[in-house]
């Protein structure tokens, strides 16, 4: 960018500031900003950092519960897990960089979210992700999928934090904008939690970690704009990750945190040194003066503008208690990391930057943060689609064929090609690896465990954002429940298109309202999260994708329940009511080629009642297996349980008041399948009736087929082939094959 001799307003516009925003900058400063100041305003007021299109709606989300220690606004959310311990977690998007440069984009997404968690004093114990790619046969999909998976693995494997699960969808709406949402969960002692507020006049401001280079400048601005045909040119805005340095930074920070040296600490993520400095000072109500000559740099001749806007990775900013500098320095030098005192706190409440003896920026901090735009963007409420009766959809020619089709469909097929590239067992506490309803890791050295799940069904959200987002929260809650955990709280990654379009804003508003309703009804508050907008290319938006990452607690890890049918002779009970809802179902899309109808309605009262009942069964040790029902309905759920345990199942009776295919493939919510001892089934059904929970015995385990007498039989072998071959075959296919379908 040639920045000399050009009108400042034009440069402001190139930085993503609107005319009104630029005028506001001049009013706040009482003068025209210089280039460094302009850069600082532009990143702080970018959509990515300021949430200017979403914050008035985010404020409506429930964020409190007796077990919430820290809600949104810090680096990550924190919930109490008993015994003086806390779970610290957050999910964040790295969508735009991952589309431009999949390996580094995904890798630095993982690195960034790890830092958000350990900057609060927690040791990261699990990584998760939620990925969305374009159509499987789109010419870029395989390249992007391979790169993203390698990047996530490359970073997480090296730092030694297990990647324990996630979800992956494919849909043409993501052809030009993939989604890479990464989540980290850490564990801290409740009396050793670190926050970002700076305080103490004259206290030293310390920079640690990697050196600052020219990489990632304008990353936050890039993430706040749509793509067009020239997006490839944005590659230099993508940061480059170094997981080895991050591992050193993690260990050094945790070592320093064991002392009493730190006043406040914040990682340098989006908008780098600018955002961390401003946020720390703002939260503490202090000013800060930085001497940029002291910032460790990778190359000489970096300008103040470049130093402040660089998004070089693996860096932290902290305020230390005076006199602790030498102690901190010795720890960082042991780990061979840079350590520099770059400034001190002042009483001016201004951000003052010096370089070569001159003042290169002088900005009042409060207005920089508080005057950030807060837009009430116009929105069109998305109209709920017309209802669809169970017999509005044709039955398949052959149920076994339809089931085999669903098991091999991109969204449903086995994803072990992906997760075997992730080290999911390092730290030796993963008791439910990828492949269960929720991942489960033990809380090291205790009998407790954390359950983690990421969920969203974007096709539901497109049809009805309110119901779809409520469903995402409910499914996450259900997945945690299905392993026997008590759901505690969620983090979210709200991925949408351009909020300046009223129809997209309608998706955002509807989704946040639906999430809020579900979170309130399920006592499942939002403790952290992130918003990613402008996921559009040439005016085409992604499906609305409010990804939910939930964390639950198993008080006794030994009570965890898995999905696999492990033995013959067990009864399978269906918990919950099946109305035959096929609108927006996987069956409709993949077998009939239709994407229509309303998504399944979510009844949060029933959801909670059914879930509490199932969790009670798990806690009493009576479940051999349990699986929540979602995509593909009852029959896909049964097939997954059979494949996971290697034991077949015979369905005894289908109801006569529904078309068979509607009963089998319906995606009605609040349902679970549980396997119990045959002699316990009647007691459990009686208890269910008392609790006003629908429970019916539908099947018995055994054999090597999935069968319903008189209707269909399909062998586990055929199911396994269908389920497990799709993704490896896709990734191994010669290049020409996918090109031909361009």
């Amino acid at each position: 960018m040639d920045l000399s001799n050009r009108p400042l307003a034009e440069i402001a516009s190139e930085h993503g500031l609107s005319d009104q925003e630029f005028d506001l900058v001049i009013t706040l400063l009482g003068r025209e900003p210089n280039l460094t100041e302009l850069g600082i305003f532009s990143v702080m007021w970018s959509e990515h950092c300021s949430y200017k299109s979403s914050k008035r709606w985010l404020k409506t989300l429930p964020t409190e519960a007796p077990w919430v220690i820290c809600g949104p606004g810090e680096n990550a959310g924190i919930v109490d897990i008993g015994d003086g311990q806390a779970a610290v977690f957050k999910m964040e998007s790295h969508n735009h960089p991952s589309f431009i440069e999949p390996y580094q984009g995904a890798a630095t997404g993982v690195g960034g979210i790890l830092r958000d968690v350990f900057t609060m004093g927690a040791r990261p114990v699990a990584n998760m992700n939620a990925l969305r790619f374009g159509a499987a046969d789109h010419p870029r999909t395989r390249h992007l999928l391979a790169g993203v998976v390698a990047g996530i693995g490359g970073y997480g494997n090296c730092i030694g934090v297990p990647t324990v699960g996630g979800e992956t969808n494919f849909h043409p709406a993501y052809n030009g904008n993939i989604l890479v949402n990464a989540m980290t969960v850490g564990i801290a002692d409740t009396d050793k939690i670190f926050y970002s507020a700076a305080s103490g006049l004259g206290y030293p401001v310390v920079y640690v970690g990697s050196k600052t280079g020219r990489d990632g400048i304008h990353g936050a601005t890039m993430a706040s704009a749509e793509f067009d045909d020239d997006s490839e040119e944005k590659r230099p805005t993508v940061q480059v990750g170094d997981p080895f340095t991050e591992k050193l930074l993690l260990e050094a920070c945790l070592e320093l945190m064991a002392t009493d040296a730190i006043v406040g600490i914040q990682d340098m993520g989006a908008a780098g040194l600018t955002c961390s400095t401003v946020e720390m000072a703002d939260k503490g109500g202090v000013g800060v003066e930085l001497n940029l000559d002291q910032v460790p740099t990778r190359e000489t001749g970096m300008s103040a503008y470049e130093v402040m806007l660089s998004e070089s990775q693996e860096r932290m900013l902290m305020v230390l208690h005076p006199g602790k500098e030498a102690l901190a320095q010795s720890i960082f030098e042991k780990w061979e990391l840079d350590f520099a005192i770059v400034g001190q706190l002042t009483e001016t409440e201004r951000l003052v930057l010096k370089m070569d003896g001159a003042t290169v920026a002088d900005i009042p901090i409060r207005p920089l943060v508080d005057a950030a735009p807060d837009y009430d963007r116009p929105y069109n409420q998305v109209a709920a689609p017309a209802a669809m009766a169970p017999d509005d959809s044709a039955p398949p020619n052959d149920i076994a064929d339809a089931l085999a089709t669903l098991m091999a469909t991109p969204d449903q097929a086995d994803k072990s090609w992906i997760w075997t590239q992730y080290d999911y067992s390092v730290m030796a506490d993963t008791i439910q690896p990828p492949g269960g309803d929720a991942a489960v890791v033990r809380v090291h050295g205790t009998g407790k465990a954390l359950a983690i799940s990421t969920d969203c069904t974007p096709r539901y959200c497109l049809a009805d954002p309110h119901q779809g987002a409520a469903q995402a929260v409910a499914e996450c809650w259900r997945n945690l429940t299905a392993v026997g955990a008590r759901p505690l709280a969620i983090t979210d990654c709200l991925n949408f298109g351009n909020p300046e379009r009223p129809e997209i804003m309608g998706q955002i508003v509807g989704s946040i309202q639906g999430m809020g309703e579900a979170c309130r009804a399920l006592d499942f508050p939002v403790v952290s999260g992130n918003v990613s907008l402008y996921n559009e290319t040439n005016g085409k938006a992604i499906l609305p994708t409010p990804a939910i990452g939930g964390v639950g607690l198993l008080a006794d890890a030994a009570k965890m329940v898995k999905i696999g049918l492990a033995e013959a002779g067990y009864a399978v009970l269906l918990i919950g009511v099946t109305t035959g809802h096929l609108g927006q179902s996987l069956y409709l899309r993949e077998v009939l080629g239709r994407e229509d109808g309303p998504p399944p309605p979510v009844d949060l009262e029933i959801e909670r009642r059914n879930g509490d009942f199932v969790r009670g069964l798990a806690e009493s040790g009576r479940l051999q297996a349990c699986h929540d029902l979602s995509d593909g309905g009852l029959i896909v759920g049964l097939a997954e349980m059979s494949l996971a345990g290697g034991v077949g199942v015979e369905i005894q009776a289908a109801p006569d008041d529904l078309p068979l295919h509607a009963w089998l493939f319906a995606e009605d919510q609040a349902r679970y399948l549980v396997a119990v001892r045959v002699d316990a089934a009647s007691d459990i059904m009686a208890e269910a009736a008392t609790a006003d929970v629908a429970a019916t015995q539908i099947a018995t385990t055994g054999g090597e087929d999935l069968t319903l007498r008189g209707a269909f039989t399909i062998s586990l072998e055929r199911l396994r082939q269908a389920h497990e071959c799709w993704l490896p075959d896709l990734m191994a296919a010669p290049r020409e094959e996918t090109k031909a379908t361009q």
Partner: protein, 229 residues
């Protein structure tokens, strides 16, 4: 049994090894920083898994030159047993304690999964609690676990019974299909001529508890405790 676990910058299975040894033997290993020059009195040296020095240059190459490695090599040559797991195996090779090389997996990808292994030699301090030709299950998690050596070395390893673990199927057949990464002769673990150093790609420390998917790894540490008591 007094064990010392070497901690390199980038080691990430050091704690797992510590926990496993504690759980099996009851003793607490000493964690030794790579920049120390001398090991404490020790009955066992563990080179743990991870990404020492980020695996930069070549897996294990920089770690092999860490200050502590001089004493590790000296003690190993004097007969102190060394258990080198995954990245530790790579370090041991780079330090000249074991022959051959570990190169990129044949599919060029990181592979994390439990694999079947056949215990080919139970006459070592690391494996005497296993049955001869016992089929066990342990997880692998690596990007560079593809063992290679020249024909003479492979012949020597075979003739001297120094191939300790080989990848196999669930029935114990050593087949190409059961080879996860292209390793020569399905080699998953080898010993030095004296059988005092074992390098292995699979992670015994991750399988010491049924809740983690299996406990076949316990016998490695149990064998050592028995042999070194």
């Amino acid at each position: 049994m007094r064990a010392s676990i070497i901690v390199f910058p980038g080691s990430n299975c050091d704690r797992d090894a510590q926990v496993a040894i504690e759980s099996v033997t009851g003793g607490t290993p000493t964690m030794v920083w790579h920049r120390d020059s001398n090991l404490p009195d020790t009955d066992l040296i563990v080179l743990p898994g991870g990404f020492a020095h980020g695996d930069y240059l070549r897996c294990g190459a920089i770690a092999a030159h860490s200050p502590i490695m001089k004493d590790v090599v000296r003690r190993a040559e004097a007969g102190t047993p060394v258990l080198a797991i995954c990245n530790g195996f790579q370090v041991a090779i780079e330090a000249g304690l074991l022959p051959g090389a570990l190169v990129r997996n044949a599919n060029l990808k990181f592979i994390c999964k439990p694999v079947h292994l056949r215990v080919e030699n139970t006459h070592t301090p690391f494996t005497h609690m296993y049955d001869e030709d016992e089929v066990i299950l342990l997880p692998i998690a690596n990007h560079d676990g593809n063992y290679m050596a020249d024909a003479d070395t492979l012949a020597e390893l075979t003739d001297q019974g120094r191939i300790v673990l080989r990848y196999c199927d669930s029935a114990g057949a050593v087949t190409e299909a059961a080879n996860p990464n292209g390793s020569a002769m399905n080699i998953a673990g080898i010993a030095n001529a004296e059988r005092t150093i074992l390098g292995m790609m699979p992670h015994p420390e991750r399988f010491v508890d049924e809740a983690l998917g299996g406990d076949y790894g316990r016998s490695v540490f149990g064998s050592l405790m028995g042999a070194l008591a």
